[in-house]
Symmetry: C2
Subunit: 121 residues, 2 copies
Amino acid sequence: MHISDLAERAGVTVRAVRYYESRGLVRPGRAANGYRTYTEQDVAVVREVKALLSLGMTTEQTYPFVECLRAGNERADVCPPALTAYRARIAELDDRIAELTELRSRLTDLLADAESYRGVT
Amino acid sequence: MHISDLAERAGVTVRAVRYYESRGLVRPGRAANGYRTYTEQDVAVVREVKALLSLGMTTEQTYPFVECLRAGNERADVCPPALTAYRARIAELDDRIAELTELRSRLTDLLADAESYRGVT
DNA sequence: CTTGACCTTGACGTCGGCGTCAAGGTTTAG
DNA sequence: CTAAACCTTGACGCCGACGTCAAGGTCAAG
């Protein structure tokens, strides 16, 4: 199938597909006229990449999942490296959430202090 | 005082000071030779901006605090608009934390599912 | 044959807070 | 007098995931 078919079936834009290719996530064949050609597996790959990006992962981090699919697995996350990537992302989120929670705490302190200061003077 | 003195006293780089100026946060005078000249108030302003940026706010969001200082207040956060900005930032953090928590939840679900899938097959 | 819907590569724009040259003018210490 | 250490404006680089326009080749329908 052609790129626009793949894009439509995977729910992304044509531009996104080409971007994924530039990042090494998809490796389309080429028709005689130079057009990129995609397989069913590519549809699964792009869908997976889309799903992982929506979970806040980077294209880099989707690699293990893509490779897992290319290895012939029906699911992208049944390979150990993919599980590791899941855990790594969860750890990232934990760190980030802790940071933001800390910032929130500092802000509420500042707010309370400013309010009481206003109340006093 | 000159820009490097201000930068040092406020704990930021010269480049940062000029950037703040481009964003309208600092308005230095000019010496006869074209050099920027700063006041004590500017030191307080830059320090405040630095502190707020470290809390994850944007330069835009520091405006009310800067104006509060310029109005002659000793504290940047005693003005109502500043308090509003604090609350707005806290709300942003709450939203962001909720988003990340949701993503984390989806990831732990995916991980558990993938693990059990591996265990079964 | 023509039109319009595809396809190709190439490359700049986005957003924020600066870092980091470049190419000069100014000031100050020795 | 000179060199170091300032200062000035201007402008590109960074990072990530594309959006968007340019300029052109290809293909199917009427």
